[in-house]
């Protein structure tokens, strides 16, 4: 069995005396204190931020409060398929689907959420709803928390609230294009237009 001898570091008289080392350490501490408090801005190395006046930028994939994305005409992209509420492990999403009125270009093609409620207190911010959504209608890319409140009702976000929250880029749409029935870009043709 091989053995190694570890050599202890030799101590100088200065180390042995302690006081010079303490002085050295305190000089470092107070030097940093002086720089951070009164020194030039670019040399400051504080690890804290002045919350809540200042907030830290969250990473790009941070899952913040939900939002419902819009279509070009401002209506929700959500088609009330209930995939998100099916996937939700906390069961915090409640949706009531409804059909577009007769005469609407979307009538027959799609449905929309008459009621869309997320209980943000129940939500565990896992992001499964965003994964499940086939329409890119629900997103958590807002970059903000749910605002704090003393009242439970303030955490029940209804459809209008969810539609009013913008994404991190300040817009209400998503980068994924969508061709709605009735739009010129929609490739569908019906019997009236011929094949």
């Amino acid at each position: 069995m091989a053995t190694y001898k570890i050599k202890k570091p030799a101590r100088t008289f200065g180390d042995q005396a302690y006081l010079p080392a303490i002085a050295k350490g305190l000089a470092q501490t107070f030097g940093r204190l002086y720089t951070n408090l009164l020194g030039p801005e670019d040399q400051k190395k504080t690890a804290t931020v002045r919350y809540p006046d200042e907030t830290r930028e969250y990473p790009e994939r941070f899952r913040g409060v939900h939002r419902l994305t819009h279509r070009a005409d401002g209506s929700p992209r959500c088609v009330a398929c209930l995939c998100c509420s099916t996937a939700c492990p906390a069961q915090c999403i409640y949706i009531e689907p409804a059909e577009y009125e007769e005469g609407d270009a979307q009538h027959g093609y799609e449905r929309y959420p008459k009621v869309f409620v997320i209980d943000e207190l129940r939500c565990i911010f896992c992001g499964y709803c965003v994964e499940a959504c086939p329409c890119d209608a629900i997103r958590m890319d807002t970059g903000v928390h749910v605002p704090a409140s003393h009242q439970r009702e303030h955490f029940i976000f209804d459809k209008e609230t969810l539609l009013s929250i913008p994404g991190r880029d300040g817009t209400y749409v998503t980068a994924n294009p969508r061709h709605e029935p009735g739009d010129a870009s929609h490739p569908g043709i019906d019997r009236a237009k011929g094949h």
Binding site: V79, A80, E99, G108, R111, C135, H195
Partner: protein, 536 residues
């Protein structure tokens, strides 16, 4: 019984039966869209193609790529045949698995999905769609077609109950065949050809016969949707409980589909029973679930100084005990809408109270709905599910009608009434006399009888309780509790038992099994057999 072999498993069949039907009877499913056990054979979906081994198989000359020769070579392959059309024969060897069949099934799947919109998230069939099931089972590949699918009419109104989506339709013609063969009304047909194919309603007509919701039920995909169920729920949230339709005396077997989270029933589906309803149900029967949630009585109701006030259920039960205790000439009204158990306990309680009272005469009456349009398919002229059962409970003798009861009350032969259920063919005006004597009514819904009662005790509906109905043929059919009744409400027989124990009457019954045991000894069963299916 002769047998044939399906994938090495012996399957018995009756002469003349097709392969798919014999396999279905045994519980083995051969993938299919257009075949339905209750309809004729169309053999148009080609999903049930199987290989039939024989000494001289039907061979097709084909060109196959030979890897060694780096060229196509002439060879043969066994022609596949539709299992829904080929009659089984003794000693036949059928292969429904294996490379050749799976390739054909995958190809059929791909073909059916060529122009399909794949809008599963907004399709009500999603979760119980054969296209989804078979895609997972037999295809599991992406579509190779990269051009825009053919677009066809969507959300076409077929009638007051059904909406049609031609893009989702696979043209299996089940709905057409159902209307033709079962209803005998050729109201649906097919127009155009190939990928422009679509189902249409006959000119000048609407899909408006009495069995329109069954066309939605037989549709294997999401092409036909029921206006009532459309967008209401996702099927994967629903649970099913075996039950019996309350619509009429036929007693069609049903599945009650309910959402356990909200304890709410969303639809009724027919449950296969060859002896009673085969595979079908009528529209009115399928819509009878509405009664489970509409016009419900959820608290006790007491008439005080000509006004009806709501009282707690427990207070209503105590009030009922008081009213019934003082009665000396009590009349019991059984209900043709109530289960055998409810009627039995009501009759027993009545006779027990009579024995204690001064008068021993048994006064049993029957409340029932007045009947509806009958047909030769399923609908019975008597729209009460349990008239036979109520009569059987009363000892087989005919029961007096409510009209007789009104007369008896007017002649002061009755000084108190205990009635079951809400249903009566008579209107409130005709029954007005019943309000002149203390009248305890046990009901789940608002109806003529509840309007003329002094005291109404809320009880559970059919979906909220277990029991049995005896249909017009005399078949006793049990139904099971699907959802919980709100606010501690119990079924009528349980409520009656608590009234009995509070009145100091011992009926020596505590549980459903006790009631059923007593019921069985009380009357010789007229049943042909209990046809309740086991839970799914």
């Amino acid at each position: 019984m002769p047998v044939f072999k399906l994938d090495g498993v012996e399957i018995p069949f009756e002469p003349g039966e097709t392969i798919i039907r014999a396999a279905w009877k045994k519980g083995t499913e051969i993938p299919h869209y257009c075949w339905h056990p209750g309809l004729s054979i169309a053999a148009n979906c080609r999903m049930c193609l199987v290989e039939i081994k024989s000494a001289r198989p039907m061979a097709l000359p084909i060109l196959a790529w030979d890897e060694k020769k780096k060229d196509y070579v002439e060879t043969t392959k066994n022609k596949l045949q539709p299992a829904c059309q080929i009659e089984a024969a003794e000693g036949m060897e059928v292969v429904s698995k294996g490379a050749a069949v799976e390739k054909a099934q995958g190809a059929v799947q791909e073909f059916l999905l060529l122009n399909h919109p794949v809008d599963c998230p907004i399709c009500d069939q999603a979760g119980e769609c054969k296209l989804q099931d078979y895609w997972l089972a037999h295809q599991k590949k992406l579509k190779r077609k990269d051009t825009e699918p053919v677009h066809k009419p969507k959300a076409v109104r077929f009638g007051p109950t059904i909406v049609y989506d031609a893009e989702r339709c696979i043209m299996c013609t089940r709905c057409i065949r159902f209307c033709d063969e079962v209803v005998g009304d050729h109201v649906l047909d097919m127009r155009e050809r190939g990928n422009r194919n679509e189902i249409t309603v006959s000119p000048g007509r609407e899909l408006d016969h009495d069995y329109t919701l069954m066309t939605e039920h037989v549709c294997p995909v999401g092409a036909l949707t029921s206006k009532d169920f459309r967008f209401k729920a996702r099927v994967w949230f629903l649970r099913s409980t075996p039950s019996v339709c309350t619509g009429c005396a036929t007693g069609c077997n049903t599945w009650v589909d309910y959402d356990p989270r909200y304890q709410r029933v969303y639809r009724l589906r027919p449950r296969d029973n060859e002896a009673v309803n085969k595979f079908w149900m009528c529209d009115d029967g399928m819509m009878s679930y509405k009664r489970f949630h509409e016009d419900r009585i959820l608290t006790g109701r007491a008439r005080q100084d000509g006004r009806v006030v709501e009282v707690p259920r427990q207070a209503a039960i105590e009030g009922a005990v008081k009213l019934l205790k003082t009665a000396s000439k009590l009349a019991i009204v059984l209900s043709a809408q109530a289960s055998n158990e409810d009627n039995f306990v009501a009759a027993r309680l009545g006779s027990a109270l009579q024995e204690k009272g001064a008068l021993g005469a048994k006064k049993l009456y029957l409340a029932a709905l007045g009947g509806w349009k009958a047909d030769k398919i399923l609908r019975n002229a008597d729209n009460n599910p349990n008239r036979v059962g109520a009569v059987m409970v009363a000892g087989g003798a005919g029961l007096a009608s409510l009209e007789d009861l009104v007369k008896a009350v007017d002649r002061r032969e009755v000084d108190a009434i205990l009635s079951l259920g809400w249903a009566a063919s008579e209107g409130v005006e005709q029954l007005a006399s019943l309000a002149n004597v203390p009248h305890v009514n046990l009901s789940s819904n608002i109806g003529p009888l509840t309007q003329v009662a002094t005291l109404v005790v809320p009880v559970a509906s059919v979906a909220e309780s277990s029991g049995a109905f005896t249909n017009a043929q005399g078949v006793v059919q049990t139904f099971k509790k699907a959802v919980s009744a709100p606010m501690g409400i119990t079924s009528a027989w349980e409520t009656l038992l608590s009234i009995a124990s509070a009145s100091g009457v011992d009926l020596s019954m505590k549980q459903l099994s006790d009631v059923r045991g007593a019921l069985a000894t009380h009357s010789a069963p007229t049943s042909v057999g209990d046809t309740a299916a086991p839970a799914e």
